[in-house]
């Protein structure tokens, strides 16, 4: 996947930022969670009764005099529209924004039959004039500057046109209106179909929808089957969320409910295009709750770096990848599925609570099944990770080779030139000289336990907890696991370490469910589950607390899941008083910033706990960086699949850290630590990247 030019990236990032500010403002006084829960339930119910509601809609629309047609696929829908045009002698058709018509490739199809289809939505009109493709669902021409638009208009009008935006819009107004008055038919999409009265709801800002449906004699609605809802009241629920989540407006300037034909005949085409199959799929049917608000795209870190042209087949971003897999085929979604970070940020914004990232993971599994996977993934996951013994041996070998790999400053030597793209932007860590399991045993084990320092309770007056480190801690950063153990011991717990095995997340995330089940199963067999399992890696945590039980379905996995708790939450919740009374005499207050690890914030919702701990440990309020919750670009195998995107995300993150002037950047994920610490090293930044547990341990010393 190609990254876009820096100027456009800036535009997209600024758009994303202003969107989030506007959205937050219009959601003030509303409970977003409550609104979207209601909308999701409403859509689920409508999907359950889809066939029945479509029949009801069709009957009511017919009673109004509309002609309702069903189309199995794109070809059928296009043919139906062609027939309508031929029947009514239409050689020019004007369109108000219709995503479905892009799905069916309508414009090109009609052009092939000498019928001109003209867009009237300003952005779409500009993009069509430039013979390009839209790069955003709601902002189709976001990739063009005012100068680009002025140059385009000048060329098409054959006279110089200034780049004043007001002037450009006025000129477009005139040109587009002429086209609307010259057209024989107007085509629109639909934001909702109302079963109880056969009405179509259209939500627009520019007012072109109203012109397209009232000026040309024939009105064609091209829409898809999942848009049907039972009642008018349901559309009002939808309307409360759609504009707020799409453009940060409390409502758009025009909303029309149209029941039946107006000037002339009205045709409503209901397109299936594999949506029925999606509906019948218990895992993927949730996707159809989508209301096409594009909030997910607006906050997607990857979209802002590769843009809509790269990150789409027709539909864009993560949600687009899911639709693509069904509508345009699994193969068309193969490359798209690889660029999702699985950061889950979009899910914080989704109007209907679609678990986009988890569905992409499920999709990766299906792609792997049908189209196979790259050799390196098969080797790493099926070959090594599926066999815990081999996995351990591989890391042991790496440790033995440490002298060769490492430069003895904690980082590995630079990779050979042909692999430069993987460590050009971040130094990779050297394997630790001893594994976490070994170091833990040495310090906390039965024999030779150090303990004994003042304040430590030997017996563990507060009970016993198990520390789960995870692979990165086990083999690269044992100091994080040791720090967590020391803190807990100091607070009065007896600590034990979980076996140093992989939780199985990396293969699970890549769609290698079998390898994941084997890795997770081996861990499950050995781990003691009757007491709190305290974790220092949010990604492992999600595996232990949810995914593992989903994959294996085992009772023991469920019991384990119930006992898993992130280190920061455990300390913040169970040891509130101890944290408040942290006395760090003689320690200077440090300027610190905090990086939100995706899974820690978006899935575990533990970011507030961590911030409180960091502030207590460093005796200073956190200086927040811009977009603390933007992904650092590590995302596990993502940075191997997409080193260029990973590098861009890291560069943004490092700049944000630098702007705070902080000397410490705290975080809760060893993966982020690898990325950010390695990035600081390559960039020569004098910023220390540390895990919350490490900072807390130092404060308690």
């Amino acid at each position: 996947m190609k990254t876009i030019d820096p100027a456009l990236k800036k535009v997209l990032q600024e758009f994303s930022r202003s969107f989030r500010v506007k959205r937050q403002n219009v959601l003030k006084g509303y409970d977003f969670e409550e609104l979207r829960t209601a909308l999701a339930a409403l859509k689920d119910d409508a999907l359950d009764r889809n066939a029945e509601l479509l029949d009801q809609f069709e009957a009511r629309a017919r009673a109004h005099g509309s002609v309702v047609l069903r189309a199995r696929d794109s070809a059928e829908a296009n043919a139906q529209i062609l027939k309508v045009c031929r029947d009514h002698g239409v050689d020019k058709l004007v369109k108000s924004k219709s995503m479905v018509s892009e799905e069916t490739g309508l414009n090109d199809f009609l052009a092939g039959h000498h019928i001109e289809a003209r867009e009237t939505d300003l952005g779409e009109w500009i993009v069509q004039l430039a013979a390009e493709r839209p790069t955003h669902m709601v902002m189709p021409a976001i990739h063009m500057t005012r100068r680009d638009v002025a140059a385009l208009f000048s060329e098409k009008m054959g006279r110089p046109i200034s780049d004043d935006i007001g002037g450009l819009v006025r000129l477009a107004r005139g040109e587009i209106r002429k086209e609307i008055f010259a057209a024989g038919a107007g085509l629109t999409g639909a934001n909702a179909l109302i079963a109880e009265n056969g009405a179509v709801m259209l939500v627009t800002n520019e007012g072109n929808g109203r012109l397209v449906t009232s000026v040309p004699p024939v009105h064609i609605v091209l829409t898809s089957i999942e848009k049907v809802v039972p009642t008018t009241a349901d559309t009002l629920t939808l309307l409360r969320l759609l504009p707020r989540n799409a453009t940060g407006q409390s409502i758009t300037s025009c909303v029309s409910f149209i029941a039946g034909p107006h000037r002339g005949p009205q045709y409503i085409i209901l397109l299936d295009n594999h949506r029925s199959e999606m509906l019948a799929d218990p895992r993927f049917r949730e996707t159809l709750r989508c209301i096409k608000c594009s909030a997910c795209l607006n906050v997607c870190p990857v979209y802002q770096i590769i843009g809509g042209e790269e990150y789409s087949h027709i539909y864009m971003g993560g949600i687009g990848t899911l639709f693509t897999a069904w509508i345009h085929g699994l193969k068309a979604s193969k490359e798209l599925a690889k660029v999702c970070l699985r950061c889950h940020r979009c899910e914080e914004y989704c109007a209907t609570k679609i678990p986009i990232a988890d569905l992409i993971t499920a999709l990766a599994g299906r792609i792997k099944k049908t189209h196979g996977a790259p050799v390196w993934k098969r080797f790493a996951f099926d070959g090594i990770m599926a066999s815990p013994g081999l996995h351990k041996t591989a890391f042991r070998a790496a440790r033995t080779a440490r002298r060769i790999i490492s430069k003895e400053d904690g980082f590995s030597r630079k990779l050979p030139a042909w692999m430069k793209r993987y460590d050009r932007f971040r130094a990779l860590p050297a394997p630790a000289s001893k594994s976490f399991a070994r170091l833990f045993k040495k310090e906390f084990g039965m024999k030779g336990a150090k303990g004994g320092e003042p304040g430590a309770t030997k017996g563990g007056a507060k009970g016993t907890v198990t520390i789960f480190g995870g692979c990165l801690v086990e083999h690269f950063y044992p100091e994080i696991g040791l720090a967590a153990a020391r803190v807990l011991r100091k607070l009065g717990y007896e600590v034990k370490a979980a076996p140093g095995l992989c939780c199985g997340f990396p293969p699970a995330n890549a769609g290698f469910d079998k390898a994941a089940a084997e890795a997770f199963g081996a861990l499950l067999e050995k781990i003691e589950i009757g007491r709190p399992v305290v974790t220092v890696c949010p990604t492992c945590t999600t595996m232990l607390a949810k995914r593992g039980a989903e994959i294996t379905g085992s009772e023991k996995a469920k019991a384990l899941a119930a006992n898993v708790i992130p280190f920061s939450r455990f300390v913040a919740e169970h040891e509130k008083e101890a944290v408040e009374h942290l006395t760090c005499e003689g320690r200077p207050a440090l300027r610190a910033t905090y990086h939100d690890s995706c899974h820690h914030k978006n899935l575990l919702k533990a970011e507030r706990c961590s911030r409180a701990l960091v502030e207590a440990a460093l005796r200073a309020p956190i200086t927040e960086m811009d977009e603390p919750d933007a992904c650092c670009g590590f995302a596990g195998t993502f940075s191997v699949d997409n080193p260029e995107i990973s590098a861009e995300l890291l560069a943004d993150k490092l700049e944000a850290i630098e702007r705070t002037g902080a000397t410490v950047v705290a975080m809760d994920c060893p993966g982020c630590l690898l990325q950010i610490r390695g990035g600081c090293k390559r960039k020569g930044l004098a910023v220390r990247a540390a895990h919350t547990a490490e900072l807390l341990e130092e404060a308690l010393k």
Partner: protein, 173 residues
């Protein structure tokens, strides 16, 4: 003043509409007369209900017959409801002529009675549903208009009047 009306005015203004408040219809008619003069409105579209005559129609120079005019300076319409939550005008369309009077002109003038302002769309959900369930000619439409026509398609800069009216003037009576 009624808090509902106040909220409507606040939200409509925020959406870019111009709101003028009058104590009665006579005052609104006077305003309309001077508005027509000031903005040199020679002829405009007028909604069907207002066409029937009366002081409002007389104050507004409008085209009497159905028109295919592409360019119209102004339109005079009346809203059925106002929504305080969003400053929205609700209109139960009577036909495409009606919709054109709202959409084609550069300036849209809209009458709204204070008593017709309701808190939110849910408050008139039954009326909307009832209207849309009606069969017969012309077939029913319900339009929600909030502020002038707008776009942010070029450089995400808010620009007014891309397809519909550039000015939405609400006359509260």
């Amino acid at each position: 003043m009624d808090s509902l009306v106040e909220r409507f005015i606040e939200k409509a203004t925020l959406a870019g509409a111009e709101v003028h408040s009058f104590s009665g219809l006579n005052e609104a008619v006077d305003f309309l007369k001077s508005f027509v003069k000031e903005n040199k409105i020679a002829e405009g579209l007028i909604s069907m209900d207002l066409k029937k005559g009366g002081p409002v129609a007389e104050a507004f120079p409008h085209l009497e017959t159905k028109t295919e005019a592409m360019w119209v300076g102004a339109g005079l319409v009346a809203a059925d409801f106002g929504i305080a939550e969003t400053g929205t005008l609700v209109h139960f369309d009577q036909g495409d002529e009606e919709k054109k009077a709202w959409t084609l002109p550069d300036i849209c003038l809209c009458l709204l009675e204070r008593a017709k302002i309701v808190p939110d769309l849910e408050a008139i959900a039954p009326q909307i549903a009832g209207h849309l369930a009606r069969t017969g000619s012309p077939s029913p439409q319900v339009s929600l208009v909030t502020g002038p026509s707008r776009t942010a398609d070029i450089e995400n800069q808010l620009t007014i009047g891309v397809h519909g009216p550039a000015r939405l003037v609400i006359l509260l009576t």
